[in-house]
């Protein structure tokens, strides 16, 4: 750790930057693959299958990589429940996608909910994660990325 830690803690380093951007690319593939499952099967099936094959893949990766535990003490039980939240998300989106909101409205509102929650989570350090106060440049970057996304969602395709 270097002296400038407090200045740079909220600024992503190049590798973090690339990892997050790459994860967004993976998300596009997931939506394509899981969406293809939903064309032929039910929405439950399209969420159930990736969770099943994902569980198996994660188990294999854990056995191969044997990652070190960051702490010897067990975390609280609620930290294991992130998957429930993900499961509810699938049901909510499938409920709204067929209304007047359509896919674009559902995606746009989902982005808004995600950004508002993450800003609040950073400011408060929710669930024991590090606190971070967003600065001017963070809000500028947020405005640019969200406006670009909204243009793509509403005008970038005729879907």
């Amino acid at each position: 750790m270097h002296a400038g830690m407090s200045d740079t803690a909220h600024v992503p380093r190049l590798f973090h930057f690339a990892a997050a951007f790459g994860a967004g690319g993976l998300l596009t593939l997931m939506i394509l693959f899981n969406g293809t499952l939903a064309v032929h099967g039910s929405l439950f099936f399209a969420s159930w299958v990736p969770h099943l094959t994902g569980t198996i893949a994660a188990l294999i990766l854990l056995m191969l990589l044997r990652p070190k535990r960051a702490s010897t003490t067990r975390p609280p039980v609620w930290t294991y429940l992130g998957g429930v939240s993900g499961g509810v998300t699938v049901m909510l989106t499938s409920a709204t996608v067929n209304t007047a909101l359509a896919l674009s409205g559902t995606i746009a509102l989902g982005l808004a909910g995600q950004i508002l929650f993450s800003l609040f989570a950073d400011i408060r350090g929710l669930f024991g994660l590090p606190k971070r106060m967003p600065e001017g440049r963070d809000y500028l970057s947020l405005t640019l990325i969200i406006s670009g996304s909204l243009i793509l969602i509403f005008f970038g395709s005729t879907a």
Binding site: H16, I115, F127, R132, S141
Partner: protein, 143 residues
């Protein structure tokens, strides 16, 4: 209508909530272990809900091409990446950069698959996102 708007917003909040909780678990264990628990707990939850609701195997579930089954293993890497990033760069930066990657790769995929859409809107949208990433990019540290 107001209810559907609230539900769509809530779906986004839950994505953030899930990433925050998984990130906390990764801080005590590891990003990969956090991803494993996210998947197995989600699997249990969806299985129970689908059994109560019915219709899990409705339609022609086996008609999908083989590659459609790759979403699961890709999701494992995706969740592990989010859990690894969130304690390091914060929830907002993680969410924004993932959204940027998702949007730009989505445009590329649309172009590759020949999906109809306005080239001008695509160019403007991608340019704004790249500008946002430029603003957020790592700066040289002043000493």
């Amino acid at each position: 209508m107001i209810w559907f708007i609230a539900l769509a917003l809530l779906a986004g909040v839950l994505v953030g909530l899930s990433r925050q909780i998984n990130g906390r678990l990764a801080m005590s264990t590891s990003a990969m272990e956090s991803s494993f628990w996210n998947h197995i707990v989600g699997l249990g939850f969806i299985t129970v809900t689908a059994l109560l609701w019915g219709g899990l195997f409705a339609g022609e579930p086996l008609a999908s091409p083989w590659w459609a089954y790759l979403g699961g293993p890709i999701g494992v890497i995706f969740i592990a990446a989010g859990s690894w990033l969130i304690p390091r760069i914060g929830a907002a930066q993680t969410a924004l950069l993932i959204i940027a990657g998702q949007m730009i790769s989505g445009v590329l995929l649309d172009i590759i698959m020949g999906a109809p859409g306005s080239p001008v809107a695509r160019a403007v949208g991608v340019a704004l996102i790249l500008a946002g990433m430029y603003v957020a990019q790592p700066t040289k540290h002043k000493t």
